[in-house]
Structures are given as structure tokens and as C-alpha cells.
Symmetry: C2
Subunit: 453 residues, 2 copies
């Protein structure tokens, strides 16, 4: 029994559970917080009987509206299911509830000498279930891959109240269709993840972090390219543009030169001696690419300060005094990074909108933030046009409209541009296998006929 | 136009295309070798009009009968589509036809300083399309993952003759349901892969290989566990049991001690200095685990000799003089390796069958080979019972009935034991989305009602 204390129709709660970290909002008919798989399945069963839409939710840190009840219904928040069931050093796996906070799991793995690499910027708050549902990425994807690469198995509560186990806890497995990976990134449109089996790797013994400041974004992109061409695989290669730098410059542990137009934050890991060598080699490549300043985060706390500034960037955008933000997460093939940065600059100029870019340069995955005032209809319209332009340009560069946030409600209008009608139709029909009545997270991922595209 | 010279109903051809490297056989009604995506799609369209089953085939090196036309129909062999379209150093991707031989692609990548890690033992012959269709693994999966982890995108000819593009060439991408990964490992039951976009990584600058000989399999398993516990991630950790050693002992570049009961072949890669350190550390762990002999493959050619012996093991089993072989590829959680080896020994004894074990110890993925004479009905029956026992024991250890070969026709009778009826039903219905008429590779993966389980 979920119990009345874990069900709410209080207007204040409904408002809370009607938003995520993005701009899409909605209002649920009710909120339920189950504590177990059985309770989750029972809630789904009752919702099915009532014909009520179900919107699964972790910590609500998504930015695409995936967890927002845009069509009402029941928000099923998994935050009470937050137990780490196992961390097994011999099998190199962890077994967790969906509501476990990503950073808590990383800390628990670390205490066993193990490492869970996926690191969305919101890792101090976001949950593993949400990470799996969106297929979350992060800065370390360059070397370690994304959440998808770490989900070995999962338990799923289906919309009709049945519970199934997918995948397992083996390193390899090819039995039948890969439904495990189908659930990863399905954004709550197929069922609710009630347990995850996650792959762990040995903790790398050492890490070295350095920052390079460049005059122009193209220099920064060339520096990242040079590091890869040297055969290095940094675990992170983050890019910040001029305006991002302006936002968090004061939080960095070194003074930023006045003519700085871009920053690259690079991190390597591995055995201590090798890490020192690689950091030195990367620093050399930065110098050769014309860096204005190379800052090796050698002092205690310096690396933490760099990362705190980087992870604080999204909230820090408020300092720019623009009330609203649309944050995209387009991704292009690695070699087209500089082209994407140039395209963004051009789009910003042409539509006369404030645009700020940072993100995962090593993956070609950039966060493009349009800052504006929604009350100004002219500006809001220009941002809308700029976003559509960004999607078109990204696709023309061979990229994808979402590298790690997912489609949610926000990018639904553009999905068909990327998939085409036939693939979208296949996806819809696969969804129908799991959710024939269309009750799981309606209004997400799949566009309405009225949407553009 | 495929052209008459690329279509055959010649009995000799039909016999050739009626088998793979395993024991399942069939006989197609015809064989077609298309040269392009368009030709492949046209063949599918014609087959659909005629209501003819279609069996996609690469090099036919599978062992589970996945490419065997057990219900007749048209074998569509992709071997004429063998062009490497691109190897892009900036994007770190390769774009290939499905019929490209895995080893050829690896060599081409290496010429660009890049590395394509997946290495099924048949890599000199097998094709990338077959690797993707089965979700092939290999020895290097310990560190680098399996084929699934390298397929960024694919082109698929659907059973109705349409062609769709899935995924892309970006490092990240979470747009819509992950149909790319659904196709990987689908064993030709959904469509035909006509092009692949594969992820590449920088070539590791150095490799070191060593072999350890142990008195008992449990010592070998403990040695592998100790290497992982030390925080090392070897790129391969291969296990051979006593009888495997007896088979290829003469091919090894060192004399095998008489009381040898197991061999571990270990390989590390990375920067030269680090590789030397890691190899020395692994050797130390082997000694500490009671190795009878540690052989560092330091001399030129020694590592190649070790691998040639390992890769030649499957064919070398013929030397044991038993005419038939059933080769399983069960996989258990890493920590249960010794339990699996003990279970196999016990099963062999109880059913009085000759059994021989080798495989990927680092992944808990073992190849269990039952050697017998099919003409001896008593022995054949005992092998059948032993195989069923192996599946049960593997599942009881938390494992999977197939780590890397796939279900094909051979393991179809057991799939339900692993998935349960609900998951199997979901898989069937997902297949129906792609192949509503059931013409794609019928009689594979999904069991008939008559099968056990």
C-alpha cells in the first residue's frame, strides 16, 4: 500500500511536480510516491483501470520536459525508492533503486574502489532512474561512454501493472532482442524503471585537470582536435565560449585574460605517472594551438574549483540578467565542432538573440543556451526561429538534435526532421507494443500532427 | 538489378548456403547476392510479394544456426557488399558495407592510427554485418566492450523493401527509441543491415601479452580475479582448461608443464611504460596465485603465436577425434567464473560426456564444448541432457545462455528459461512491428510451442 501520506492532490504539490529544470510546465491531477516495485506496479494498474496518464519522474532535473505532466494525469515520483541494494566488487556491478541520487551512488562505488563514470552536471541531485530513462550523458562520456553503456539490466513496471526483468548482471549477453537498451532513453514512454543493474569499472588511481584559455572558439576546437590526434583519450574535454567565461570567470581559480574567447577544461585519468605525462602533453598541444593561458590544476582544490565553476554554469546564467532560457544539447560528429560553434554564432547574429555555448567538446555535444525575455513577444519569436535554425544546421552537419537531454516535450516538434516519417512510425509502433493505450507519458517524444516537421 | 550470375538454385550452392560453423543445417530455395542497398531492398520486396522467407547471411561463421535456412526460403548473402566507404580520423568513425571482413576493417583502421576493438575469434573471415546482427563479442570485450558498443548508426532494409537510417555518426544521441541497438543482436529477424557507422578509438601505442599456467581451473580463476582486484583492466583475459591445453599445447611458444590444468592468456594495452608495468604486475599476481609457469611473450612473434594457438583452438578440437561438437557460449557474472567451471566439470562427469572449456574469463563468458559422436544415440542423448543442464546451471548462477553467439536456431528451445514468457512475448510483438508477416529469418530466436521451456 502506498498510503495516503504518499499521495497528494494538494495544489502546492501539484505545482511543484508540474515543472522540471527547463521551461515546459504542466499540472498533474495527482502525485504518488511509491516505495517499492510492487507499489509502483499497483499504481500503474490503478491508473490503467482509470484510463489516467502516468508521468514517471526522478529528481525533475531534466530540461526537455520529459517528466512534466503536460497532459495531466498522475506523476509517479520515484524518489522514495532510493536504496543501493548491492555494490559487488567481484562482479563489478551495482544494483540500485531508480531514485538513488547519481552522486550518492558514485560515492558508494568509490568507497569500494570502484567507479561509475556517467556524470550529468546535475549529479548531486539527479537520479539514476532518470539518467537511464533519458540516456543521460555527461562530461566523462568522451572516454567512458554514456549511461546506456552502463545499464546491464533493469526491472520494469509495465503500463498494465506487470513487472518484467530485462538483461542481467553479466558483462556480455545477446539473448533475444535488446529490450534493456530499448528502455534506456525511452523517456518514460514504455514503462517505469523500478530497479537497475549498473556496470562498474575499477577506480582510476589518478586524475589530472587542466584549463586552456584561447582567443577564439576555433582555436579551442583545434586544440581539442590536436589532443585526440596525439592519441590521447581525455576523460573530459569541456568547452566554454566567451559569454560562458564572462559568467563564471570570477569563480575560476586563475585570472582570465581580457581577450579570452574560449576555455577548454580537460581531464585525464589513469596511473599517476601516465596522468602527469598526458597532462603535460595536452598542455603542450594547447600552447601549440595558441593558448593565451594554460592552467594546470596542480594545487589542492584547484580541480574542484574548475569543476564547481563548470557545473555551476547553467545556474550562473541568471547573472546575465535575462529572465528566460532555452537550453539545447545538439551534438555533431567530433570533427564538426568548430563548424557548429560558427553556425551558432551566425544564428545568434542573424536572429538578434543572446546565445551562449558550452559543453562537451570531445563528443561534439554542445549546450546552446538562448537567453531572452518571454514577455517580449518579438524576442521570444526570434528565439523560436533561432532554435529551429539550430536544429536544421545541426542536422545538416550530420548531427543530432539531442545528445543527452532527450526529446521530452521541448524537442518533439523537431524529431521528425531527424528520424524521417518511416523511423518515427516504427518507434510509435514499438511504443504501442508496451503501451497500447498510450497512457505512458503522453505528449512526449512523439509529435502531434500539429507540430512542425 | 542483381543479375542472374548472382542468383543461384544450383544444388551445390544450396548445400553450401545451408550450413554455418555450428551443427544446424537447412536448405534454401535459392541464394541471392545483392551488391547494393537498393538491390537488397528489391530482393526483400520480391520475397515479400512471393511470401518467401528471407535468411540474411554474412560469412556464415556463426555457431548457433542464425544464418541457416532451416525453413527454406531465400538466403541473402551480403558478401558482395564489402566496401569500406570511409575511415574518418576527425570524427573517429568508419562507414562500411555489411560484408566487410572484420579483420580487413581493423587493418584499414590501423593504417589510420585507429583501432576497432571487437575481435570475434573468426575475425579473419567473419563480416561486420554478421557481427552487428549477432551482437558479436570477442576477447577484448573485457576492456573495450562488444560490437553493440561500436555501432553508432545503421542503414536497414526492412522486410517490405523500404530502407531506413537509424542512429548517426555522433558520439552521443538520444533521439527517440534506440532502434539502432534494437537492430544490433536481432539476428536477422527484423531486417537486413545494409550499412554500418562504427565508432573507432585511437590505436593504443603498445600491447603486452603473457600466459600463466595453473594446476587447477580455480587457481586460474583466482588469478584473473586478483588482476582485476589490483585495479588493472586487461584488454583480454582468456581461459583454457586442461583438455583445451592438451589440444593446442604443441602450438604454444613454450613447453606446457605436465601437471597443467588451466592456462590464462592475458593482454594489456596502453602507453609502453605503463604496459610493461602492468604486465609485470599481472605476472606477479599470477605467481602469487600459484602459477606453475608464467610466460611473458616478450620475444618477437611470441604474442602472435599465443593468439594463433588460441584462435585455432575451435578448429583444433578435431584433433581429439570426436566427430561432432556442440559449442555453447554461456556467460555468468564475473565473480561466478570458478563456479561455472566447476559446474561444467560436474555436468560432464554426471552425464558421462566429453566436455572442454575455454573462453573469456574476464567477462565470465565461457565456451563449453561437448564432443561426441552423433551416430551413437546414447551419447547424443547424454549430450542433449548435459546442454540443458548447463543452461539451467548458468541461469541459476545469474548468467545468460548466450554471451556472444546469439540464440539462432540452436538455443531457441532454452530462451524462455532466461526471458520468461512475458519478456519473450514483448520481443515477439516488437519483431512483428518490423516484420508483421514473419518472413525475416523464421525459426530463429523465438521458440515454437513444441520447444522445451
Amino acid at each position: 500500500m502506498v498510503g495516503p501520506e504518499n499521495v497528494s492532490i494538494d495544489p502546492a504539490d501539484l505545482a511543484c511536480y508540474g515543472a522540471d529544470a527547463g521551461f515546459v510546465t504542466g499540472r498533474p491531477d495527482g502525485v504518488v510516491l511509491p516505495a517499492t516495485t510492487e507499489e509502483t506496479a499497483a499504481v500503474l494498474s490503478l491508473a490503467a483501470d482509470a484510463g489516467l496518464p502516468v508521468v514517471p519522474r526522478g529528481a525533475g532535473t531534466g530540461t526537455a520536459g520529459g517528466a512534466v505532466p503536460t497532459r495531466g494525469g498522475l506523476v509517479v515520483a520515484l524518489t522514495r525508492m532510493h536504496r543501493i541494494h548491492e555494490i559487488d566488487r567481484r562482479d563489478l556491478v551495482g544494483v540500485v533503486d531508480p531514485g538513488v541520487v547519481t552522486g550518492d551512488f558514485q560515492a558508494a562505488a568509490e568507497r569500494e574502489g570502484l567507479f561509475y563514470p556517467p556524470d550529468p552536471a546535475s549529479l548531486a541531485v539527479c537520479t539514476l532512474g532518470g539518467n537511464a530513462a533519458t540516456g543521460a550523458g555527461g562530461a566523462r562520456a568522451v572516454k567512458y561512454g554514456v549511461t546506456r553503456d552502463y545499464v546491464l539490466g533493469c526491472e520494469v513496471a509495465l503500463p498494465d501493472g506487470r513487472v518484467v526483468q530485462l538483461g542481467g548482471r553479466t558483462a556480455k549477453g545477446v539473448v533475444g532482442l535488446d529490450l534493456t537498451r530499448l528502455l534506456v532513453g525511452s523517456e518514460g514512454t514504455l514503462g517505469i524503471l523500478t530497479r537497475l543493474v549498473l556496470r562498474l569499472v575499477p577506480m582510476p588511481p589518478a586524475v589530472a585537470t587542466l584549463a586552456g584559455v584561447f582567443r577564439a572558439p576555433a582555436d579551442a576546437a583545434a586544440a581539442v582536435g590536436a589532443v585526440f590526434s596525439a592519441g590521447l583519450v581525455p576523460r573530459c574535454a569541456e568547452f566554454l565560449d566567451r559569454m560562458s567565461l564572462a559568467c563564471i570567470g570570477g569563480d575560476l581559480p586563475f585570472p582570465v585574460p581580457g581577450d579570452a574567447g574560449a576555455l577548454v577544461l580537460l581531464e585525464v585519468d589513469g596511473p599517476p605517472a601516465r596522468v602527469r605525462e598526458e597532462a603535460a602533453e595536452a598542455a603542450g598541444r594547447f600552447e601549440a594551438a595558441g593558448a593565451l593561458r594554460v592552467f594546470p590544476a596542480a594545487e589542492p582544490g584547484a580541480a574542484e574549483a574548475l569543476w564547481a565553476a563548470r557545473r555551476g554554469l547553467s545556474p550562473a546564467l541568471k547573472r546575465l540578467g535575462r529572465p528566460h532560457k532555452v537550453s539545447e544539447d545538439v551534438c555533431v560528429p567530433r570533427g564538426r565542432l568548430a563548424d557548429l560553434v560558427a553556425a551558432v554564432e551566425e544564428i545568434g547574429g542573424r536572429h538578434r538573440v543572446t546565445v551562449l555555448v558550452f559543453g562537451h567538446a570531445g563528443d561534439g555535444n554542445l549546450h546552446v543556451n538562448f537567453l531572452f525575455d518571454r514577455e517580449d513577444p518579438g524576442e521570444a519569436g526570434r528565439v523560436e526561429a533561432a532554435v529551429a535554425d539550430l536544429m536544421r544546421r545541426t542536422l545538416a552537419l550530420g548531427g543530432t538534435i539531442s545528445g543527452e537531454h532527450g526529446v521530452g516535450a521541448a524537442k518533439r516538434p523537431f524529431i521528425r526532421w531527424e528520424t524521417g516519417p518511416d523511423v518515427l512510425d516504427l518507434m510509435r509502433r514499438v511504443k504501442s507494443v508496451f503501451d497500447p493505450r498510450g497512457l505512458m507519458n503522453p505528449g512526449k517524444v512523439f509529435p502531434d500532427d500539429a507540430d512542425v516537421g
